[in-house]
Point group: C3
Chain length 335, copies 3
Amino acid sequence: MALRGRSLITTQDFPPSDLEAVLARAKNLKHAQEYPKSLAGKSIALLFFNASMRTRVTFELAITHLGGTALVMNVGTDSWSLEHRDGVVMNEGKTEHIKDAAKVLSRYVDAIGVRCFPTMEKPEEDLADAVIMAFKRHSQVPIINLESSLYHPCQAMADMMTIQEKKGTLKGVRVVLTWVPHPKALPTAVPNSFLLAASQLGADVILAHPKEFPLPGKIVEQAQGNAKASGRLFRIVDNQPEAFVGAQVLYAKSWGSIGYYGKWSEETKVRTNYGIWKIDEPKMRSIPEAIFMHCLPIRRNVEASDAVLDGRQSVIYDEAENRLWAQMALLEALM
Amino acid sequence: MALRGRSLITTQDFPPSDLEAVLARAKNLKHAQEYPKSLAGKSIALLFFNASMRTRVTFELAITHLGGTALVMNVGTDSWSLEHRDGVVMNEGKTEHIKDAAKVLSRYVDAIGVRCFPTMEKPEEDLADAVIMAFKRHSQVPIINLESSLYHPCQAMADMMTIQEKKGTLKGVRVVLTWVPHPKALPTAVPNSFLLAASQLGADVILAHPKEFPLPGKIVEQAQGNAKASGRLFRIVDNQPEAFVGAQVLYAKSWGSIGYYGKWSEETKVRTNYGIWKIDEPKMRSIPEAIFMHCLPIRRNVEASDAVLDGRQSVIYDEAENRLWAQMALLEALM
Amino acid sequence: MALRGRSLITTQDFPPSDLEAVLARAKNLKHAQEYPKSLAGKSIALLFFNASMRTRVTFELAITHLGGTALVMNVGTDSWSLEHRDGVVMNEGKTEHIKDAAKVLSRYVDAIGVRCFPTMEKPEEDLADAVIMAFKRHSQVPIINLESSLYHPCQAMADMMTIQEKKGTLKGVRVVLTWVPHPKALPTAVPNSFLLAASQLGADVILAHPKEFPLPGKIVEQAQGNAKASGRLFRIVDNQPEAFVGAQVLYAKSWGSIGYYGKWSEETKVRTNYGIWKIDEPKMRSIPEAIFMHCLPIRRNVEASDAVLDGRQSVIYDEAENRLWAQMALLEALM
């Protein structure tokens, strides 16, 4: 496997066959009576620049289930604030350089997980995924992406596992990723990684969002390339009715657009007009064969109604559960 | 046992015989050479909305001693802020609904511990114990109360164990719970649960507080009902001299009263007048057979003098230690 | 060993032979195939009043590697804020007394690690190492210093191990501890403990700093006493060129001086003039036999240049790694 001993920044770095092998292993682990002690004697540091619930719990648990040791640290409060720019004169706020943190931790642990959301202020830094790439550049052990500025590959793997579980396969399944309303402008890591993984693994992908909320061009191009390579569909539309036709999976997620960096009050006004993108029962009834997915946390009755989330088509808790199994399989593959 | 597989919100939900069995088991564990691996393969998430020292350490340790995995999380910093009201449109501050957090965690762990102090602002919410009850409503695994708005059953069980240890029994032991001064208005969970458990287990209970600081009526009624059921004493008095007569246990604790919600400056003035309720050596000498108890943390020389806390009648460290043993026994009973 | 069952506040409390035994054991552990379960069944609480990266990770890992249980707690956020002054009336900000915290934790765990930086406001408190000494006074189990106001003995032991590793011995090795620039006035614990341990273990010690930045007199006297006892050199100079002659070890560290307490704006002005004390390549080339050491975190291109830190003389990552091995050996010796 190409994954062995490598850093996991985005699924796009690995061939679909590797991802499929991980999904198969995740399914086995989910139904296993006992967990193999695949990480016995191994330690993994989990660094959180941002809050986390599912990722934190499932990584700590996945590592422990496999017999390893998880060390959880909130960056900047538990530990020092971290500078990512190489070569700078560090006479301002940041206390330690990621170069040193990564090289030091490499002496202690066998892998380093990093959660680092985008700044939502500096487009170049965010598009370069500057923080996690600094870790990757300087670490001597694999870096595992726990959601970076651009990618959330572990979420995407759990999402793919869930679709496979519910639809029997990913090949040719019609998945619709739709923008939904939210009181805040959110990162794009989840939709980016969903698009990439789904197109890598042979789903037909429809992306729906108001025209003001495109995903990063580089991601869209990669997803288009994936679709072309596997002979599958990749389309972008600017309305839900067109997108929903024939949907077998409806993936709801909100995000802000990089075009509004530095102009958030303007974005808020635009966003306010798109309350109609909320997912409600009539919409779900119009696609009776579709499962409803969301990575959580979700703003209930803003992104989707209680009735949808608690309804028969919703698989949000299976999806959250699969974080654990997908990550156990990923950890086994990486280490 | 009625406890098996249930949530532990308040001791009042369980028959005294169950509580007695837990106390007997706690005593055995305290004197055991080795701990049974009763929680092997089990994981428990411990969610803290508020600070904790004893509860945090003893739960993490109790779980580990019994072979289980403890996952500790500070809500709102480590993880997302949580909404408890069902059906609301979540377009304000709270990021995730307890419904989703509880249902997701139920997929990962075998029980969820929750510490959630009262708001001290919204009387209805606090009297309904809204946050922990939301967890109980939505969780598919047992909820363990690590101190909620209304109850602190694990503290109460350690308190009962300590009285039994020092006095040989709980039946007919004369316990006095007295309000003491404090620079802040505190929650009532500890005195509430102490009253309930002591009256459930057959102690004679005297409650002493300035007339402005009644405990919640519902709790007092339950304690009265318990006393009646077991044919024991339950009395409320508004002064210490009357309360202290014949005391075998003096339990000191400060609390604010729900009557002052929204009027805390007024409460501060009233509270200031009651410095005389502090426990000092002369008071302890007047009840030479009594042990002195407090749940800690305590404001030294405000609630009670150093001489009392460090004196021969004080059992505060035994009481704190018993948190560990009582909780190990509770965990075994619940899971 | 004198260390057994004792608190580790400063290396100065123990005979050099004990420290040497620990270093020898650390070296063995570093090259061991497997770790002995020396802490099986033991638990250690790690209390952090301040941020930490290396200390936190290596202690948690050292304890886990040796089969013990580590309980990590941030004081004042995870747990209550702590008062250290005996006898005070606790009606202000602090919620719990260290007396109670230490005595309670002594019932739960087998040792307590404490990180407590100086106030940088109250010279008497800082020079008395008031917080950690309160823990030592009240605890019934060993206290392990994770960096206090005055000392960082675990760092010093890792430093000594590193010198021994790189130079074959500590006896007669010429070590130069030099002040370097930094945007903030830092504590003196690291240089204090380095001076003490190096002089205890027979190195020749040169201390270089601008005349405005002396280390605490008591520490300097102890180091002088150590040097006299072992017949080694201890000198203080106020410039780098004189200090660097014949250096085999260059230890760079910044610190503020107690003389500036309450006058930090004045100190900032003075400090700004000493940018020339930064370590750069020409300086390192002038002492080609010397290794470059720093405890980290380091302000790159302020304290020392990237070229020095990443250059062939730098041993900063070995030094950081040795924290783990030195602490495993210390834990074995103490418990």
